[in-house]
Amino acid sequence: MKLQRRNVRGLRALTVGAAAVSTALLLTACGSDDNTQQGGEDATKAAGNIKCGGEGKLLASGSSAQKNAMDLWIKNYMAACPDVQINYNPIGSGGGITQFNQGTTAFAGSDSALKEDEVEASKKICKSGQGINLPMVGGPVAISYNLSGVDELVLDAPTIAKIFDSKIKKWDDAAIKKLNPDAELPSTDIQAFHRSDESGTTQNLGKYLAEAAPDDWKYEAEKSWPAKGGQSASGSSGVAAQVKQVEGAIGYFELSYATSNNLNSVKIDTGAAEPVEATSDNASKAIAAAKVVGEGDDLALELDYATKAESAYPIILVTYEIACDKGNKADSLEAMKSFLTYTASEDGQKILSEEGYAPIPAEIATKVREIIPTLS
């Protein structure tokens, strides 16, 4: 008797489960349909100047910081060149470099240039050549806060360093007051949020603080958060969500997250005449001061985080595409060259600011455009 009862229950549970699953499937199906429709409309607009090449699948993976830019490029490119299927998997820079060096992807996206041992490892895959860094996307890292009644806030590098290092604990601290004489600062606790996962964004903020406020920030610029105090959340979206939710919070993420969450961003007092706002244009001005430090075809950049130039926003991030200079996989080489030519082209760079990114400076972009056709 018991056995029978159990069977009936199993069957009923199955029915309920099946109903739930099919409803879910139905809903997801609707969702993805909508997306493709939207994509189609936008893509037809921008498909003008793309030179197609090659066919088949082009696989890439890496930095999630350039995901939104990639999505836009891929959408436009595939609308113009239906023979090529591009798949960019935003698994993070570390994962992207690992997959590239295992030979599973044609190119990798990365927030930081290849390290020496990673270049060594790439020689196995590139055979006659090695992996090179091609700067492709720049962008400002916004420092956003949630403080009711305070719409404008100016901070400088030492203050930011002290806030994120838990040295300044209240919003009405003298150092903040001095920079914002007109603002009504409450005496609430500062809740400083940082990334709990490893991230190129964290590393770039670390480089900025170490260079612009060496006395107050004595940590190595690593991908994992070095300081002990503060609170953390996973991913830029996680940090942005916390800053939005928690009164008195401050956090850092790519500008697009600040815009999409309607968060106020800090203006940086760099020593220039006016405090600098986090915008794509201002970030481009700071990236323009970058120096190429890579050798040969490698275009690894050294950014000037301590810049004092007028309206140059100093907390910036440059992400690279990493490919072999020689010895790329034959079946995807043409498609990769044609796609990267488009991303580095004027059209490809121009649409970046729509998504809160910054185009790389013309001088460097020209070099990138010269190198891409020589890839083999």
Binding site: K2, V16, G92, Q191, E222, Q231, S234, Q242
Partner: protein
């Protein structure tokens, strides 16, 4: 789900109804079946051994270059120069959040299971059972989002209350303000997540209490509560333990929900209400994407520790069940 109690409390009764047939499987179907079941058993062991060997090998690569003490260091920086990483915080966080979850979930689960199996009217018991079944099938990221968006803001008030009245216990002493993204919240969330698992298994066990036991107790003049105390609970004890271990297994390995709710760091704090801490699974999920090959080896080393911990917990559960077996008659 329904077969889980037999799976985790398996002292297999000898399956030899006819001793004469033993060793002489005359029909081909028998032979094939024996071969298949033996093969699957061996395959399972081989897979387990392969996992252990793989983890050990990769972990060895990482640990041999670690500059800090792997077991006691309060930091995680395998990609630094030199690499320094340790699991002390992770082990602490995993154990503490799981203990909190168990303390909350086990009594409630047993209560629900008793209610569904012995108190609720039959018409209500069925649907209740399905609802709990469905709860067990909710993906953990959904619990995570619920935890981050609903539970954390609502727990602020409770945290302040705990701090005010139970701050003297040291455990509930909260320093500073800030959202409740701490190990205590994680424990509560884990309790909610493992509750359906424990409840389901326990309920199945309670339903299998021999009717004769209960009727005999009733015949002796026992009240319903006495019946439960004298026949249902003793009979179900090993079942409750194995159900709890199943729940504990889920709590130990839970990843996404913890990663969404916790504000992890590598500072040791005995104050449960302060944000911080971490668990093995959460740390692996957080660090894996950006880790290079060596960083991944280090994460695998931490995974190995979790693997060993889970094995120990399951082994301990087996021992407890084996010792109780003869009293409960659960396997008669």
């Amino acid at each position: 789900m329904t077969t889980a109690p037999t799976a985790s409390a398996p002292p297999p009764a000898p399956l030899t109804p006819e001793p004469a047939a033993k060793g002489k499987a005359t029909r081909p179907g028998d032979k094939i079946f024996i071969g298949m079941s033996r093969g699957s058993g061996i395959f399972l062991l081989v897979v387990m051994a392969a996992i252990a060997a793989f983890l050990t090998y990769r972990a060895y690569i990482a640990i041999s270059q670690n500059e800090a003490n792997f077991l006691t260091a309060f930091e995680w920086n395998p990609q630094g120069d030199p690499p320094r990483f340790g699991i002390a915080i992770l082990a602490y966080g995993t154990v503490v959040s799981s203990i909190i979850a168990m303390v909350i979930a086990v009594p409630i689960s047993v209560g629900i299971a008793l209610f569904v199996s012995h108190y609720a009217p039959r018409r209500l018991a069925g649907p209740l059972g399905y609802v709990i079944d469905l709860l067990a099938a909710v993906p953990s990221i959904v619990y995570g989002l619920w935890g981050a968006l609903v539970l954390v803001p609502y727990l602020d008030g409770m945290n302040m209350w705990l701090d005010q009245y139970f701050g003297w216990t040291y455990l509930f002493d909260k320093s500073g303000s800030g959202p409740a993204r701490n190990l205590f919240t994680v424990g509560i969330l884990l309790a909610v997540m493992i509750l359906p698992v424990i409840t389901n298994v326990t309920r199945e066990v309670f339903l299998q209490v021999p009717k004769m036991h209960e009727e005999a107790a009733l015949a002796l003049g026992a009240t319903r509560w006495e019946v439960i105390r004298m026949s249902v609970l003793p009979f179900g004890r090993s079942g409750i333990i194995s159900a709890s271990m199943l729940g504990l297994g889920r709590a130990l390995g839970e990843t996404m929900a913890v990663a969404t709710v916790l504000s992890p760091n590598f500072l040791f704090s005995g104050h449960l209400l302060d944000p911080g801490g971490g668990t093995f699974a959460q740390n692996i999920a957080a660090k894996f994407n950006e880790a290079n090959e060596f960083g991944r080896d280090a994460l695998i080393a931490s995974g190995l520790v979790l693997f060993v911990m889970t094995l120990l917990v399951n082994g301990a559960a087996r021992l407890i069940i084996a010792r109780r077996k003869e009293y409960s008659g659960a396997n008669a």
